[in-house]
């Protein structure tokens, strides 16, 4: 064996060892067969379709976050206009990104324009169509984009915190990448996503606010009627349930509440479940406020002793206790919670509120038994057919067939190792990529061998025949592989968020490995054989 060939084999061996180490040598170097199995399970990440688990795609209702900003701006502008004595007829939100101000007094229109330009630079101002002295404010697209991005980032963070607090194994929470308002949640091994879903969906918007008139009403109509048919300024009607008295179950009632809350979820620093003192067997959630919120809450409670304060969650009044004295920084939410639901509520409160509500778009649950079945059957079928193919190759091409078998096995080892090193996940479409890789791997070898046979038939002696065979087949192999890799790259780029990506990943890695094994490795083995026989000897092909 000449030294160039020797180095080729050293290189191939190094690649092989690197790959085997990548598959079974990490994270703990194996000293027992059991450790090999553990490593293998750790390194080869299976997708939910193979392993079982829950897959949720949810959509953040971003327009809510934008509409909220619009509402706030309407409030701010009207306050500024009053403060600066700028006369105007009406200010209203047209839609999520437009505000209209009508009938600005001509004498003050200069100061109005100054105010908007200087203090509300997120908005562009234009005369309102069909209105004299009317203005239409439009939220700048860049501001809308920033708001959307911020809301998505915050949603992802909040959902991640909530899911992590459930203590499940290796959850994935990420943007789907197929649309800018979607988040993907994957819970491996979790056959029932109900609890995770309710935790995610909880808005977590806690508000403490004063009950106007300290009363409850049996219906919305009754609530309005008690106030002369008009809702008092700055108030809203929300449903809740009364405490219920012994012998009489709690009933739905309605409250009239001050619209502006004293304390919101953002003022919380902690929330914990605790056994209820009044209702044995039930649980409450106690919460603590930040110092700045406590500074507001203390004076507020002191000034309203004897009045009722509502604890509102998700637009529903949980309890409305009477304020008995000055409260500084803590409170209790009671509401017939079980230990689990109290725990989940505390978790949601701690994790913070979502910037907008969410909607589920997709839910898939693969039961663990189905996943196990598909792996078992898929792997058995693949191994079975690989063995048949390999036996045939050896039968048809004899010693050269062994070459092909070595190349194919090495191809698979490299493919699996690179997926392990890259942390890629093997899914069902990924297995399709593996099948195409094997198919093209067989094809590459057949192309080379058939070409060598042709050259031998044309009267060439083995060495030049092998030389020409590889050279001719090389171009074909490059063309077929590059074409497929080009298409796989497009699939990867445009198939983000769909299983098509899993297909593209295994295909690209597999085909690159294939070029290496069917050309470089197979050639080296041929060269080794050639170096050991005479020029006129017989090539086993």
């Amino acid at each position: 064996m000449n030294s160039q060939l020797k180095w080729k084999f050293v290189f191939i061996l190094a690649v092989l060892l690197f790959c085997i180490y990548g598959v079974i040598g990490l994270p703990t170097f194996p000293t027992s067969l059991n450790q090999v199995k553990l490593n293998l399970a750790d390194r080869i990440k299976l997708g939910l379709d193979l392993k079982g688990g829950s897959h949720l795609v949810l959509q953040v209702q971003l327009e809510e976050a934008i509409g909220q900003r619009c509402d706030q701006t309407v409030d701010q502008i009207s306050k500024q206009l009053h403060d600066k004595n700028i006369g105007f007829g009406e200010i209203r939100r047209v839609d999520d990104t437009h505000i209209e101000v009508r009938d600005v007094a001509p004498a003050t229109s200069g100061s109005f324009r100054d105010l908007i330009t200087n203090q509300f630079s997120d908005w562009t101002m234009a005369p309102s169509a069909g209105q004299t002295d009317g203005y239409l404010l439009t939220m700048k697209p860049s501001v809308v984009a920033d708001l959307r991005k911020a809301a998505m980032d915050q949603s992802l963070e909040v959902i991640t915190r909530r899911i992590n607090a459930l203590g499940l194994t290796e959850p994935t929470i990420a943007f789907t990448g197929r649309s800018d308002d979607e988040i993907l949640v994957q819970l491996p091994g979790e056959g029932d996503p109900t609890r995770a879903k309710s935790v995610i969906q909880a808005g977590g918007q806690l508000q403490l606010t004063l009950v106007v008139g300290d009363q409850t009403y049996p219906s919305q109509i009754a609530a309005l009627a008690a106030n002369g048919g008009v809702l008092p300024a700055g108030s809203i009607i929300l449903p809740g349930s009364d405490a219920g008295t012994p012998g009489q179950p709690a009933q739905q009632v309605f409250y009239i509440l001050a619209r502006a809350p004293v304390v919101t979820g953002q003022d919380l620093v902690g929330a914990t479940p605790q056994p209820s003192t009044n209702n044995p067997g039930q649980y409450d959630v106690s919460f603590h406020l930040s110092t700045s919120a406590a500074a507001r809450f203390g004076p507020f409670t002191e000034a309203n002793i004897g009045h009722r304060m509502a604890i509102v969650l998700e637009n529903k009044v949980y309890t409305a206790p009477v304020i008995n004295g000055r409260i500084e920084d803590s409170g209790v939410i009671t509401g017939n919670f079980t230990q689990d639901s109290a725990q989940d509520l505390a978790l949601v409160l701690r994790a913070g509120a979502l910037p907008a509500s969410i909607k589920y778009l997709e839910e898939r649950t693969v039961g663990p038994s189905l996943g196990a079945d598909s792996i078992r059957q898929g792997v058995r079928a693949s191994i079975g057919s690989m063995i048949v193919v390999m036996i045939f190759l050896v039968f048809y091409y004899r010693l050269s067939g062994v070459n092909a078998v070595v190349a194919l096995v090495l191809n698979l080892v490299i493919l699996i190792a690179f997926m392990a090193y890259a942390g890629a996940v093997l899914t069902l479409p990924g297995i399709a990529g593996v099948i195409l890789t094997i198919g093209m791997g067989v094809d590459s070898n057949v192309l080379v061998f058939e070409r060598i046979r042709e050259e031998l038939r044309n009267g060439k002696v083995p060495a030049p025949a092998v030389d020409t065979g590889f050279d001719r087949a090389f171009l074909t192999i490059i063309d077929t592989h590059v074409t497929t890799i080009v298409s796989a790259v497009f699939l990867f780029l445009f198939g983000s968020g769909t299983p098509v990506q899993g297909f593209a990943i295994t295909l690209v890695i597999g085909l690159l490995a294939n070029v290496f094994t069917s050309i470089y490795v197979s050639r080296a083995i041929f060269d080794y054989h050639l170096s050991r026989m005479d020029r006129q000897g017989h090539l086993s092909i």
Binding site: G378, L491, T498
Partner: protein, 415 residues
């Protein structure tokens, strides 16, 4: 050993028969597609693309399909479907059914359909009235918290992750050894780490339902449309990428011919899908992409040989050159296609229910993909050149085919 060599078939002379065959297959397949779609626009699509709910249920005994159907009708779920699965590989072969429900307008939340189906199942087959949770549908994490609380091994605070392991062992035994359904708690006696105390704890605190949900898919209508759109465009871009590369390496008509051929393959495979009543799901899209890659590979092998022979046989007509190229590569074509066909056939027969539609697409695709290389792609190139003069002398063979060593580095520079 050698099967084929020295074959001399006039492939291009038979081109009109190939085209006729393709047209026939296309027409039959697409008539089938149109007749199905005209009855129901979503008929060809699986749940992934159509939106709706699909629940895969396994029963402890043979699935009582008629009883389920009656239950669904009684609940007023007229737009539901039920399909028994005969999985030859599984232990209990006719125990599984798939229940589907179309997305109905005005559903409040996504999982309304799943809830309705579960309600029907519980109503039809009864649930344990004691209110004990069903062991056959409990998740490992729920089992862990129960075991830790009840502490049947009396480990106290030192339990560590012992109960995590025990719960995993129990659910594993249920899912892997008992095919997802346990019919008696005694079946769990021999699970490692299980003591009689554990078995009696389970028996006292859990019920055993007669069915278990193996798989549930709920896809909102918006997602369905979005996935359809995305899968379609990803495929179009991938085909475009291939066309450009082949046009660059050969000549644009070769690229166009290859892309038309794979397009033809996809259309025919879709026709077969309709004829055999399979649905197009995301997994099937992966299979279609695989067959695109496979068919393209096959076509390029022949084109490559044509490119090489064009340099050697300057005087012969292109049709003869193409014939010779196909004959020269025939041995390879039959061998590779045969082996690939064998592989996907094994997958189709042994791969289980999940892979059935996928492997069906592959079985059809390998045959059609091989055929289209010589039956469609090659004739297009010959026909084009016949009508536009020149026999492909403009093909950019360069020095590549003749002197691969020197040429290849130059060619690779383009790649």
């Amino acid at each position: 050993m050698e099967f084929f060599h020295g074959v001399n078939v006039d492939w291009m002379g038979k081109a009109k028969y190939f085209v006729a065959l393709s047209v026939l297959l296309l027409v039959v397949g697409w008539i089938s597609i149109f007749s199905r779609v005209s009855k129901n626009p979503g008929a060809m699509y699986g749940i992934d693309f159509r939106g709706g709910t699909l629940v895969y249920v396994r029963f402890a005994a043979k699935a009582p399909v008629d009883q389920i159907r009656r239950g669904l009708q009684d609940a007023g779920l007229a737009n539901s479907t039920i399909q028994g699965i005969s999985d030859t590989q599984s232990v209990g072969s006719q125990n599984d059914v798939v229940i589907g429900l179309e997305q109905s307008q005005g559903d409040q939340s996504l999982d309304v359909g799943k809830q309705k189906i579960l309600d029907v199942l519980h109503k039809t087959f009864g649930t344990d009235t004691s209110g004990k949770p069903d062991f056959n549908s409990i998740t490992p994490s729920a089992l862990v918290s129960d075991l830790t609380q009840k502490d049947p091994l009396s480990l106290g605070t030192g339990a560590g992750d012992r109960y995590t392991q025990l719960a995993a062992a129990l659910t594993d035994a249920r899912d892997k050894n008992h095919d997802g359904i346990v019919t008696s708690f005694d079946e769990l006696k021999n699970v490692p780490g299980v003591t009689p105390a554990v078995v009696s704890l389970l028996a006292n605190n859990y019920s055993l339902g007669t069915f278990a949900i193996r798989d549930a898919e709920i896809v909102g209508p918006k997602v369905g449309a979005q996935l359809r759109h995305q899968a379609f465009w990803a495929t179009i871009y991938a085909l475009g990428g291939m066309l450009v590369y082949i046009a660059f390496r050969f000549e644009w008509v070769y690229g166009a011919a290859a892309v038309i051929a794979v397009f033809h393959d996809v259309l025919i495979t879709l026709g077969f899908f309709s004829l055999f009543h399979y649905e197009i799901s995301l997994t099937v899209i992966a299979a279609l992409l695989t067959l695109v890659g496979y068919s393209m590979n096959d076509t390029i092998v022949i084109f490559d040989r044509v490119r090489e022979n064009l340099r050697l046989m300057k005087r012969e007509p292109l049709a003869d050159i193409v014939n010779k190229s196909i004959n020269q590569t025939l041995s390879r074509t039959i061998l590779t296609s045969g082996l690939t066909f064998l592989t996907v056939l094994v997958l189709y027969l042994m791969g289980g229910e999940v892979l059935r539609a996928f492997s069906f697409a592959m079985v059809v695709g390998v045959v059609v993909g091989t055929y289209s290389s010589f039956g469609i792609a090659a004739p297009i190139v010959v026909l084009w050149n016949r009508h536009h003069g020149g026999k492909g002398s403009t093909v950019r063979t360069g020095s590549a085919a003749g002197k691969p060593r020197g040429g290849s580095s130059k060619e690779l520079a383009h790649v």
